[in-house]
Amino acid sequence: MTMGVDPCVGVESKLQPYLDRQLTPGEVSWIERHLGECAYCRERYHFEAKLRDTVKTVCCGDPVPDGLVDRVRLHCRGHRSE
């Protein structure tokens, strides 16, 4: 499998789908082989993975308010008896 003339450009364009696990096994092994050989891409890959992880951790870290499910039940019950 080839990813164009410059493999680093190929990796850059496939990095997000790679992190999303949306690539074919052939593409995955091509990228992983390249990441093993190329410090430039490896450093950027680590940054992108860390960024993804950080955004997810922060944005999923909000506490769900206590009693949310109870209030949902109450809300729905109130409308049902209208």
Binding site: E12, D20, E48, G61, V64, L68, V69, C76, R80
Partner: protein, 208 residues
Amino acid sequence: MLLVADSVELMADATPDEAEEPASDSASDSPDRAQFEEEALAHADQLYRIALRLSGSPQSAEELVQETYLRAFRSWRSYRPGTNLAAWLATILRNVFLDEARRQQRRPAQESFEDTTEYYLYNQLAGSSGEPQEAVLNKLAAGAIVEALADVPPAFREVVVLVDIGDFSYQEAADILGVPIGTVMSRLHRGRRALKQALAQRAGAEAS
């Protein structure tokens, strides 16, 4: 130019069939419905987090979740058992959110960011302080990251929220949004780029 209004139109086809139950129906009348309600309520936390990132405030998020369940319980017969319940609920959540946005007549935001390299944020952080980029990322306050996500135009943000925060696959997001999977991929791509631009701005502001 992509507007939220486009996705509003596209959504019309993907709306779950909201054939409503008679108002007198109650969960105790039907064991199936009671079971459905319990299974649906198990997804409340996930829906709340999506609602929070779509709406931006805890109060709006809770109202969105309540309205979502109200509609879901009324149209529970249109849910096909065995299919993805979280995605079905997220579809309703998004409809509720769009209805609300329409009622408040929010102007759809237009994309204002330029296309950038994948490594835009990495490159921006490189020059700023002499620290490794990952260290700069670690120092970004949680509030700055949340604000940066809120800056992403809505049509792109909702895809980022569904995939990166809601853990839905490309295909599930496509089903929820009622758009082709290619549209999900291109919006996701642009949404992530927009997020990087917003983060770069905030990282610069915090460093100075």
